[in-house]
Symmetry: C2
Subunit: 216 residues, 2 copies
């Protein structure tokens, strides 16, 4: 299964491409914004495609040609300029979903935010609410398609070394999760068809990733 | 017909409440953010409701109880902070649409932007694109409901005195339009059921408003 990683040069993205390349059943194509980011991925034996998420759907669809799955892990992050929040976290995600449809790629894994329900927009601190709103609408858009989606809602992302042990479920207590373990969960989700059509929250925990994802 | 004007204290909103109060068939309820904005509308004999668009759907639905139509003319404007673009122009609009549904109000008139198609997001200058994106998704949301909507796409808004003469159509040449004439077109749209389920671009022109709207 060939997997286009959108946002490959991000922190989760780099772990993810690395784990995909380590997997027997998967191979990665890293979608990156600049040619000078390619070395890291080529050294892992991964394909690359240079596309800026602010380009149009056709450009993204071209990068998606011939792949079997797309993972959206691009993000402006909650603390970038708010213009990027709507252009990347919402519009970039929607364009990637539309590109998947245009390229005939059915499988789509979205890295979302911990809680993207309507109530969470209202409850968020003012500086964080635009990010939650962007993720809310992006998730809604994906769920309105007939793609084979999985939406992962990670807790507070850290750069701690992963433990490969998590707590995943429709609703779990808010907590931290190393980016490395989010990447492991994406791989496990791609390898488990039972995650199709589902969304789940994800924090650090005590259940091995594969087991946690099998019972989602 | 009682009309809730969301964004009544804006420049189009003030003209609109005034025209509605002048009309024989319509009466206005002005939704405003602060109690101290109420005087202007009370002096016109209009009802008021103090609700901030960043409150939840229930608060907006309560303001919409008992009205027959809602006009959304709130806007952060293209040059406010981009956090307000997503929170007001997109999320505020969506919450108002959902409030209309919750309160059983079928008729909805949206003041959009001149061109909110996917292509217009891509073509917009970087500083303007987030605004176009927000309006794109708001319009899409409204069109996905079964409300009796009309979406008005005005050209470049000016504070010039209106002439009550416009050019309205599915696609017209880009140009300016006085805010006063946008307000006139909203009233004419509310008074003409043939505008239901339609959207049109609007610039200054040479056709009297009522005639232009009748033939939309």
């Amino acid at each position: 299964m060939k997997v286009l990683v959108v946002g490959a040069n991000g922190q989760i993205g780099k772990h993810l491409v690395s784990f995909i390349q380590d997997s027997d059943s998967l191979e990665a194509k890293a979608m990156i914004r600049k040619q000078e980011q390619a070395d890291f991925f080529e050294n892992l034996g991964a394909d690359t495609a240079v596309v800026d998420l602010e380009q149009d759907i056709d450009a993204i669809a071209k990068a998606a040609e011939g792949v079997d799955a797309i993972v959206f892990t691009a993000g402006s992050g909650p603390h970038t300029g708010k213009d990027k929040t709507i252009m990347v976290d919402l519009d970039g995600a929607v364009k990637t979903v539309e590109a998947a449809k245009a390229a005939g790629v059915k499988r789509f894994v979205m890295i979302s935010s911990f809680d993207t329900r309507r109530e969470a927009i209202q409850a968020a601190p003012e500086s964080f609410a635009p990010y939650v709103a962007a993720k809310h609408y992006a998730d809604k858009w994906l769920k309105g398609t007939d793609l084979d989606y999985t939406i992962i809602h990670p807790g507070i992302l850290t750069n701690d070394k992963g433990t490969a042990q998590v707590n995943a479920g429709v609703e779990v207590e808010r907590g931290e999760i190393p980016r490395e373990d989010v990447a492991r969960v994406v791989v496990a989700s791609l390898e488990n068809e039972n995650t199709i059509g589902k969304e789940f929250q994800l924090v650090a925990g005590s259940v091995p990733v594969k087991e946690a994802i099998r019972s989602i």
